[in-house]
Symmetry: D2
Subunit: 367 residues, 4 copies
């Protein structure tokens, strides 16, 4: 994630006209050699091995947090106290209460803050948001999202350590729920409003894995798969599913939303396309439209190449940084803020709780 | 449905070499004119307006039940008592207990019986079954199915009567659960074994509709949409969803099954294709294979045209009739029998119950 | 082909309300046993082994010619002289001059006549025709069609005989040109008007094959592949290509037509879909529409099942027979007639000639 | 194009470990203000308004030519004489003879040289090359490529000037042939070897357009569309087509290659996928594989993100620059060199000639 964020910082001003321009002052890593190598490759001016020192530096205005989840709170709270602008990788924290403390810290300090739910700014997804906001779909009946991967099927894959902390519940907080469903939930809340209640099922297919750090076979604490039913405040019904055991899918994040008049479908594996069905089209020529979201009048695309030439995953990070910097300049916060991301955290918590209680759980509403 | 079944009966012997040959002796309809018109169009030798008379006829060996759901039990039980071979449209009945009586009747009478879950015999679906039975998928982790339609979104659509009895809970038993999910469940049980527990959510978006018979606005008793989580006996997790409010989908029945080694996906809207991913393919050339199921070595396809030329929906009825007649000749019942379909009914009942209790419900196992 | 035609004859009145009803009086085959088996399977009342006797029969009103190409002329001319209504498989003949004699015969005799270019009556193709005739595309710039197969790649495949006469130039007249390009040309003339000039390239990849009849290795006289450039009278440019050496394609007949305002694309491998792009759609939501041609207001589809449920290849034969019978009843000939098919033959001849002369060749216009 | 090249130069060392690192010393533009703005946005150290001065500078090692086609020769020859390393946008020149002079200049000077046929280095295209080189396809029968756009359909679009020089034959040399077909030809020569003869058809649909510079309506000299038949040295047949009048296509560059054993298909509109059909797969599960070319073992992809996350158009420029810099370091030239691109130019010339002579034209072979 350090690479995607650094890449965005280096590129944003080449394509977006912005008042602010990121300067890569310092990169921090516990391992000094790794920090130096990274700094050399990405053009950082200096290195730190203690994030507290980094935060203490007066020449640092903004901190971009891409450490494992278990460190988000501590770093963010300290950065907030030091008055830094903060951009934090998702999920905001391992749990709602942890996230709440982060929200309180940044709001008490009054520092601009942002969480990197980058998929909002894939042009096709932003276009979906525009179409919904224009009322093209009418009353919404259904929302369905899934995020399917297959990279942890092997029993021989260990858990923990720098490369595999996402499989270590203590570090990650949860498995697919915080890692993948959090993306689905963030998009859903953004596109379709509040989720009121959820009913979940989770599973850990591989119960024990060797731990990279301890070297011992340990119980696996994360959810390998999690699916849930849900109801939105607007009366629509939802199904969500995520897994790392869906053979054949590397990162198949899809969502579909069905309204009275129109429907939308998007798929991360072909992220430059949005599928759109409009019932108001004349009957004989009605069909799902495959919109190749690469035109100048599509969100963000006027900044890139010519129609037909696609951009990719990394550009969503450039877009969010551009919006964030633009927000800093205008004083109008880009979203999602820490507070927005707290709501996603509450949904995740309710999902994980429901998977244990085997009941419908209400989602607390961030006021 | 009378048309699809009559069509199958007229065609089956043109394409399949079978010991038995259906003879269209009589068609029965309450409306004599309609019965006569139908008989004329389809070549039935005679008409009846009272199904009891039809069953009483000595020249009738087999009864094919395509009446609305609320009449299935009465007709089937009477036909069984009269010793007729019985083919019944799905769902077998409105409820499990009703279906159980039908099972008891046919088994007591010892008459061959069959339920028309026709999608089993779409060649691509049968191919999926073959690949699973050959063990190509390995341990199964996930199953997901949905059946999406959009034909009842209009508030002005009435309920009840000959054309719209599927919207009348008294006649249909339920809404999408019996009509659409029943198909998904039948396929799932066939492909992936027993479902042990379910957790459902249902909704009726349009609460009141004018009733075609009474002429009055009446409460709608059916489920417009129903989704459920489930666990199979083999340890795999499932999501099922069905609705008639998914704008843009006419009859989008899809299922996907993810195994340790391979995955399968099928879609009724392109029913002649099966998507297959095999992880054992060499890495660089691994990808979802779009199998155009029209070759001579694909199920049933050797009977039809040449490779590349697709068949359609109606052929699934021809195939099931061929298999059923073959079963009659060999004494080995084609599946699903009434007993098989009872299990599907039990799942449907558990789903509808769970939607009310808002809890996980166990699925009783037909012994 | 006898099967597809017999199938159509048996089915047409089940689905279409027509004044005429085909009666399967007799089937003719040189091999008496084969004729009897076919008659038994398809319900023909009698058999003949000499087509002259068949034509001489007074109880035969219509003759449906599905013999190999080299016999079309002789049978058709005799049938015309006998005053029979004639339906002939495509291509009409092996060459233009041969076809011209057939046209003269049927027109002299004044008998209704029709050539089975069945793809015109795939609902998605008929819909394409409607959209073009409504002027939705505007000025046409491009037409491109291809018909790709892969069934003759093996060197071990013999030529000639009942199963493989399509590889025998004496019987078939040509290879892919008469077999596959003829379909592409018929559709093109129908959708986009006259072709004025062509420039072709042909190839025989396997130069010698064992002949099934002689048992000897003989020179292969057919074209395994043929592609041509063309110009339509309306000023549009075209590319056509056909081959039996395109690995991976069983019967990939596709066409695309690009107009000033809109474009269309169709693919036989998913014959129930039409792709439609309309530039007049609002920019941000412009995209190729995948029209699932299964609705009641789509051509022919009101006669079949409910929306979303696809029909297949064979139905195009039912449709053309329905239209032909309707034409008989109203006295308004269904198309393509022999005369229409003669124009296709002239294009084929010009293509084959150009492949030899290596020059642009003009296409004679049937007056 | 200046943007794509600058972007590549700024990014290449972040992702590839290379001995050389581009330093953005100077940008040149006739318009000083535009040069300064560009330099500011992209981080160039200085500006020039006279390319001769740029070439004369001792601190410049490499020149990257992205001017309109009519200036390629003059700039490249001068740069070669000055001993600069040269990277030139495609097409190398307006004509073969012009290109030949450039080849002679760089070879006489002994300077490393390269032409930006960037599509070779889309990972899916490079993967296609690997699969072909591994002999997976067997004997090749067919090659087909097209490059379809729709941006010049409007009659109101003018020709000429900085934005529309591609419509001005004097500047561009030709229309779609040099602009789009050149890409198709470069890929084809790379994947399938020499083209021996071609037979073309070209058209200018809009005969007159207002010229941006003169302000007058002038005859249009470019080809709006061009298609050609061709034969490769390896015996395979080809069709090529390009147009800017194919409504609905923004930049649809596709190629397909059919071999004895396997086939490949690629489409620029979904550039991260390669379609692969292997006849050696077991019959029942044979199908076109949609390879999502985003894995670590796919060409170049190990340098980017994680599997499933796609890159885009611009990355092909990063890849070619990485390969070119790697070639400089190792002394082994990256391809295509000017000499390679000369061959493409000869094919283009033969195509344009054939469109005039209306005959097959041989393609001279660069020795």
């Amino acid at each position: 994630m350090g690479r995607t964020h650094s890449n965005a910082a280096r590129r944003v001003n080449n394509f977006f006209d912005l008042e602010y321009q990121p300067v890569l002052k310092a990169v921090c890593d516990l391992d000094a050699a790794r920090a130096q190598a990274f700094a050399a490759q990405w053009g950082y001016e200096s290195c730190e091995t203690d994030w507290r020192k980094l935060i203490a530096r007066q020449d640092i205005d903004m901190v971009d947090i891409t450490v494992p989840n278990d460190l988000h709170r501590e770093v963010a709270v300290a950065a907030a106290k030091a008055g830094k602008v903060i951009l934090c990788e998702k999920p905001l924290a391992r749990t709602g209460p942890e996230a709440l403390k982060m929200v309180q810290a940044v709001e008490r300090a009054g520092v601009p803050n942002f969480v990197s739910y980058n998929y909002r700014r894939i042009p096709a997804v932003t276009l979906a948001k525009q179409l919904i906001d224009e009322g093209r779909l009418g009353r919404i009946f259904h929302y369905r999202a899934k995020f399917l991967q297959d990279w942890t099927i092997s029993k021989d894959l260990p858990q923990g350590g720098p490369a595999l902390w996402r499989l270590d519940a203590k570090v990650a907080g949860s498995g697919v729920t915080g890692d993948l469903l959090a993306h689905c939930i963030d998009t859903a809340l953004w596109l379709n409003g509040d989720l009121e209640q959820v009913n979940a099922m989770a599973e850990t297919f591989i119960k024990q894995r060797k731990h990279t750090v301890s070297g011992k076979v340990e119980k696996v604490g994360i959810d390998d798969a999690c699916a849930f039913l849900a109801r939105f405040k607007n009366g629509s019904l939802a199904t969500f599913e995520s897994t790392r055991f869906a053979r054949g899918h590397k990162a198949l994040y899809t969502f579909e939303i069905n309204g009275e008049h129109a429907s939308l479908f998007w798929d991360l594996h072909d992220l430059h396309r949005l599928q759109y069905f409009d019932h108001r089209d004349a009957g004989r020529v009605r069909g799902w439209r495959s919109i190749h979201v690469t035109d100048g009048d599509h969100p963000y695309m006027g900044k890139w190449w010519v129609p037909g030439l696609q951009i990719g995953y990394e550009h969503s990070f450039v877009h969010q940084l551009a919006d964030f910097l633009q927000g800093l300049a205008t004083g109008k916060s880009a979203r999602p803020t820490f507070r927005d991301a707290l709501q996603t955290q509450y949904v995740c918590d309710a999902v994980l709780k429901s998977a244990k209680t085997r009941r419908w759980e209400k989602v607390p509403k961030v006021k």
